[in-house]
Amino acid sequence: MLRLDKRPTPSKFWNYATPVTAVLLTMIAGGILFALLGKNPFEAIKLIFWDPLFSEQFASYSRPQLLVKAGPLILIAVGLSIGFRAGIWNIGAEGQYIIGALCAAGVALAFYPVESWLVFPLMILGGAFGGWLWAMIPAVLKTRFNTNEILVSLLLVYVAEKLLAAAATGFMRNPDGAGFPGSRNLSQYPAAANNEIFVNTGLHWGGVAAFIAVLFTYILLQRHLLGFHVQLAGQAPRAARFAGVAPARLVVLCLGLSGAFAGLAGMFEVAGPARQITIDFNAGYGFTAIIVAFLGRLHPVGIVLAGLLLALTYIGGELAQFMLNLPAAAIQVFQGMLLFFLLALDVLSNYRVRLARQPAKTDAKVELA
């Protein structure tokens, strides 16, 4: 039998080692999963993690995709990480992402076909505002009525998806689209298009925004009193109140910030790679970003690395689907396993694993209760 002893201070080694170990364990467990599906596990793992970047056949297409996918993941994840550090659990970034995209597209379509440099900045504001607004619903409900922000924000994702479907088939449908669902193609509206900044790099303005967001978050958490209060509230809520932190203000701030970041990600996506509002516009970035945030240890730099890795699994997953006929769900399971292993391994940074019958310092209360 194994037993767990709480460490006096969390292990620094395991704090950094767990993400790497989790990735390795996911590869092993994923390989077994692929083998059970009758595929060659080594080939599948290579297709997911290696070929998108280095194979001559695929890399020219896949490499730029890395930044395309990593941009929104990182942008959403840094926003979420601020709230997660404060113990405020926004699980509904997917919904805020959708509403951000809808608002941004709405701004663009309202101006269509006016050519003005003002349109794009207004879309950015619209996207951020939309995400912020959608996140304010759980924030206000939590501060006023003490509802659980996890449930409210999650359920609002499904409301947002309904709104998206209504927009794509109804009020935002392309009037020149011969009745097909989907809005106008924003890439054909130069004032609103979010094109690649350098051709064939995959870097569009969303990537720039993600970079700025990472920098902003890093400074907020490391240098600013507000970031200190965020972390204090997450670690010791009573001490935070003693330090003068108003919990309600923090809820509004964290949810609002993460919502605005997710809304921005939606804006850059709809004006860029997605080109238009469609029924299936959202690709799960908002949920995957939760994995990115935790895999990156809620640290801005870690989130950049984790965002690139998860982007790779998206691209490699598509490749594996295409080349090996893997079901699409296999890749989702793969991403899910990653979070699972990560959270499970986190036990190691706070606890020491020992064999039983080697008793050590225990808390007397555990024994009695």
């Binding site: 003693f242 330090a243 007397a364």
Partner: protein, 506 residues
Amino acid sequence: MKPPLLSIKGLTKVYPGVVANSDVSFDIGEGEVHALLGENGAGKSTLVKAIYGLIVPNEGVMEWRGVPYAPGAPSEARATGVAMVFQHFSLFDAMDVAENVALGMDNPPPIRELAAKITDVSHNYGLPLDPSRMVGDLSAGERQRVEIIRCLLQNPQLLIMDEPTSVLTPQEVEILFRTLRQLRGEGKSILYISHKLEEIRSLCENATVLRHGKVVGRADPRQESARSLAEMMVGQSLHTPSRPAAQPGKLLLEVQDLSVTSPSAFGTSLRKVSLAVRAGEVLGIGGVAGNGQDELLGALSGELRTTPESIRVAGEPVGALGPNARRALGLLCAPEERLGHAAAPDMSLTENALLTGAYRENLVRSGFIGWSKARDFAEKIILRFDVRTPGAHVAARALSGGNLQKFVIGREIMQRPSVLVVNQPTWGVDASAAAAIRQALLDLAQAGAAVVVISQDLDELMEVADNFAALNGGQLSAPRPVNGLTMDQIGLMLGGAEGGETDAAA
């Protein structure tokens, strides 16, 4: 000759980096009340945990009536006849007394039978307790009775009590002692852990003194003075806090009809609390925990808001202000709970220095943190208050209770408060650190601050306070000068609403 009830021979317990017990030997006879004395960290807890089967020693043996005794788990210890009342209660507020007792037993009888037994035992031993009451509604003294009765139901031969009186009023202590003497009269043995020397002198016939894990002395406490016992414990002569008498200055803290609803379901709301403290004055507020101490501190610190006029600092109404606005006016506080309230356990001492010192110490410029200034401030506290730690980068939870307490009290004192409110400033702190903290509080008052000390330790309040008031059921008695106050009068002030039950038991 009959072997002693429990004989401990050469017991040693080593934790990584620390020797908690080193070659400890002593005997407990049948029907003996044996005191285990020592400062915090002297190894008392480790020793009793070994006796109770919570840990296994590295070396040494124990014998129970001459037979080898090596409990691998508390259930084995209980089966042998050892029971333990812990310092911190393990009770569930939302369950009644009988259910709580059942939870701690190895083979609980049906609840109705158990309730009858509880009523029986509680009357036999003079500890009145209604088995159907919710534990959340009980006073600290009554909660302890739940724990004691849980032990007595198992008919133990040896009862271990860890700091049992730290939460009791003097009258409750008397009741407890009567029970313990009755148990001794029945031939049962008691291992009594405490740092309250007067109690030990009145109750115990043998004492073993531990220091740094070793036995440094054995004594008959009845033959020793409290001072000689204390010096045996500390290993040096003790410094008694002192200060010259001073004329009280102008009114700095004024609380008028303060009523606050407790945010917690099992908390105590404050009802029309009024007090006034002048510059240079120390007001001691006594009372058993759970009578509104946390709420009073919260209302003064700004964590709980009230009407502006109910609290005034130097005439300025502050009742509706938040903690930082009050700090700006010179009202500083140090809460009781060190880990999680006064300090964030996983954060470094530098970060914890920033926690309350951000504005008064100018550690923040337009929202941005000056980390090197914060570290300097933390290091200044560590230096001046003799906090034993490798450095300011260490996490708060890695410090011992006494050292962290010195840090959090020091952090507030270093910010030159005009009013300082502290709750349980020396709880769980060793004698020399406690003396240092009390001296620092007195020096602060001497320098012209108004100081409020909320404490359960009456000896401490008698030592530092000019005036004494008792908090009971959320109401504060009128303050009275400490000079000339007798223990009986204090007991009556503390008793308040609980007086009825105490009398019934007497």
